[in-house]
């Protein structure tokens, strides 16, 4: 079981790398779906090992909200974006940004290393560093991507990363909190999606990285 979970963790990081570097918007969204499925799978494995109904419920929430509802919503709201036949604008070229992303993954392991001493559970040793790497890679994607939807996917990757760590280290948070957190992620997707559409309508572009009207002279 531990090994299977490690596989999920490895694939999870891989999807986060894809969110940083993939050039097609629709492909990025599909990667996000895959990432959410991996998160649900990991929650399921942990739930099976610890015999925790709670984690099964979390896996279910993730499946419904993140792997199905959010992508469907973005697909509905931003279909013109998703089918645009162009490459995503980046602040850095893909090779450099993937190299930096690899560096960030290493940093994530170093950041959580002092905490792992206290970890008795083998799952934490995988989920916490992978989750932290997901958070950092998501933040990096927001910084390096210049378009609206890829930036949103960066934020959602950060949340997924935090959840990936959370299912191992905070597995018995009250269920109400988990529900509220899932609801919160949903609102992020709705709000940012609608805002993107409005920007597209008013400004005529979703290249949010080049919007720079507001600054000091």
């Amino acid at each position: 079981m531990t090994q299977f979970n490690a596989l999920m963790g490895g694939l999870f990081i891989l999807t986060a790398f894809g969110i940083v570097g993939l050039r097609q918007i629709l492909g990025s969204l599909r990667l996000f779906v895959a990432q959410s499925l991996l998160l649900a799978a990991s929650a399921f494995i942990l739930g099976a090992t610890h015999a925790s109904v709670h984690l099964f419920v979390v896996a279910g929430i993730v499946l419904v909200v993140k792997a199905f509802f959010i992508p469907w919503l973005l697909y509905r709201v931003l279909s013109h974006e998703l089918h645009a036949k162009r490459e995503i604008e980046q602040a850095l070229d893909v090779t450099t940004s993937l190299l930096l992303a690899a560096g960030l993954t290493v940093i994530a392991y170093f950041l959580v290393n002092p905490l792992l001493i206290a970890a008795s559970d083998p799952f934490i040793r995988i989920n916490l560093p992978v989750g932290m790497a997901g958070v950092l890679l998501g933040a990096y994607a927001v910084a390096v991507r210049r378009e609206a939807l890829p930036q949103l996917l960066g934020i959602l990757t950060m949340e997924n990363g935090a959840f990936f760590a959370g299912i191992s280290i905070a597995s018995d948070l009250p269920l109400l909190t988990e529900l509220a957190a899932a609801f919160d992620v949903l609102i992020i997707a709705v709000v940012v999606g609608l805002l993107t559409r409005r920007i597209h309508k008013q400004v005529g572009t979703t290249l949010v990285g080049v919007m720079a009207r507001l600054k000091e002279e």
């Binding site: 909190t177 919160d184 919007m211």
Partner: protein
């Protein structure tokens, strides 16, 4: 029960604003009435508090409870919420065309939901729920920031939501690690009060990691440098009553969460963590002071001053002494009241002159005596001139620092405060006095806006000279709840 009622009222009014009536004045009046009721309830709660007395909801104490600090924040949010609702009546009535009643209703619905999320932050005691409430304050105010629907306001809204959501995800990591630490040390309810008692048993490395994630994550929301870039944009592009809420109390609620952490870490590895606070605070004060000098837009001027004040409060908290905490708490009070007043005056200036540029506004006091004099009072008060409350707060922080021998920190702090003072006063002076350059046709200030200026001016003018006993007790309790 009062806590539930406080949260229920904005929710009801938000629901009411969705009913399609012919005239949106109904939702405006309901909002004012609701916010006033919330303020009165909060006032009774806050001034009736006593040491060790916890106001909670029976059977829900592990979810909702309050102490000195949270009651202070609640009081400030509800007061600014009330004045902002009053200002909205005139401001929105003037800026949104008559035939767009549905837009006005949408504004009030969002206004109430935003107010609800901010009221929830101090009332909730489960840390995970507090995180969600802070995140909701962002998400429910995004479309208020972008309300004017111009390219500029949409850009501001975008930067606002992206950066603060990034911060929130980091903070979530901090919340989870904190929960893990609590679980290792024996577990229990994940509330502020339990963490305070359990913190000596939690391994220090957990507290340190969680604290730094909190500081960076919620610090983004409070506008700490270097993650402040969204703040001047959002706080200048939103409609003025929303600016008053954003700048006056939304930043305070984010800072409140960081300050809540202090009692847990003021144990063993104290020195290192308070250095973090001092460094972050000083950088914020310094950078914002120098950015203040070169602004061209008077709403951005006040926005940078918010970053400056957040930095000063952080420095005061970093002194980690009783007197430092007292200064921090007093400055929180002074900042929220004064900054909201400043944004009301800025909004009135915008209504009178229809421009945001400092260089196009001259001789405001001749154009509109009420607006001109309130901008002058606001400028003096926020820059920290005696005898206003901000001055007293800054002075007590500087004195606390000197008493502890932190000469380097306090020297730098005083220098930056001096620069910011000159920056604000130079610009405000040029706007208020001088020769009127373009005496075009002037619209008089709406009645409700003038009324708001008068209501909001009362605490600004009085607080530096006189603090009522019950408010003094509340401040003392709030400062106590910062220490261990």
């Amino acid at each position: 029960m009062a806590l539930f009622v406080i949260l229920l009222i904005p929710l009801l009014v938000a629901g009411l604003s969705m009913i399609p009536t012919k005239n949106a004045k109904v939702s405006a009046r309901a909002t004012i009435l609701g916010a006033a009721t919330v303020f009165v309830l909060s006032l009774f709660l806050a001034l009736g508090t006593a040491p060790g007395k916890q106001v909670g909801v029976p059977a829900f104490t592990s979810w909702f409870s309050t102490d000195g600090l949270s009651l202070l924040v609640l009081l400030l949010v509800s007061f600014v919420g009330f004045t902002a609702s009053l200002f909205s009546l005139g401001y929105v009535g003037r800026t949104v065309p008559e035939n767009h009643q549905d837009r006005i209703r949408r504004y009030y619905r969002r206004f109430n939901l935003f107010l609800l999320s901010m009221l929830a932050v101090p009332l909730l005691s489960q840390i995970a729920m507090v995180w969600i409430a802070v995140e909701l304050t962002t998400l429910l105010s995004v479309f208020l920031v972008g309300f004017e629907n111009t390219p500029e306001s949409l850009e501001a809204a975008w930067k606002y939501v992206v950066l603060t959501c990034m911060g929130a995800a980091l903070a979530l990591m901090g919340v989870l690690i904190l929960y893990w630490g609590l679980f290792i040390s024996g577990g229990g309810e994940f509330t502020w009060s339990l963490l305070k008692t359990a913190s000596p048993k939690i391994p220090p490395v957990f507290l340190t990691t969680a604290f730094i994630l909190f500081l960076v994550g919620f610090g983004t929301k409070a506008g700490l440098v270097p993650l402040h870039t969204w703040l001047p944009d959002a706080h200048s592009q939103a409609p003025s009553p929303i600016c008053a809420l954003l700048s006056g109390v939304e930043t305070t609620t984010a800072l409140y969460v960081i300050l809540r952490f202090l009692p847990m870490v003021s144990g063993s590895p104290e020195s290192a963590l308070s250095t973090w606070l001092l460094v972050f605070g000083l950088i914020s004060v310094g950078v914002s002071a120098f950015l203040l000098i070169q602004v061209k837009d008077y709403k951005r001027l006040f926005a940078y001053s918010t970053i400056e004040h957040m930095g000063i409060i952080l420095v005061a908290a970093g002194l980690s002494s009783g007197t430092g905490y007292a200064g921090a708490v007093y400055l929180i009070l002074a900042h929220a009241l004064t900054k909201s007043f400043c944004f009301f005056s800025a909004g009135a200036t915008l209504l009178v002159t229809k421009t945001r540029e400092i260089s196009s506004v001259r001789g405001l006091i001749r154009l509109s005596p009420v607006t001109g004099s309130s901008l002058m009072i606001g400028g003096l008060a926020i820059a920290g001139a005696p005898p206003f409350a901000v001055f007293l707060g800054e002075f007590s922080i500087i004195r606390a620092g000197l008493a502890q021998g932190q000469y380097g920190v306090i020297g730098a702090l005083a220098f930056f405060i001096g620069i910011a003072f000159c920056g604000i006063m130079y610009q405000v002076n040029r706007m208020v006095f001088g020769k009127v350059s373009n005496p075009g046709e002037q619209l008089p200030l709406p009645m409700s806006c003038a009324a708001t200026l008068i209501v909001a001016a009362v605490p600004v003018l009085l607080l530096g000279l006189f603090v009522p006993d019950s408010l003094y007790d509340l401040l003392r309790l709030a400062a106590l709840s910062l220490g261990r």
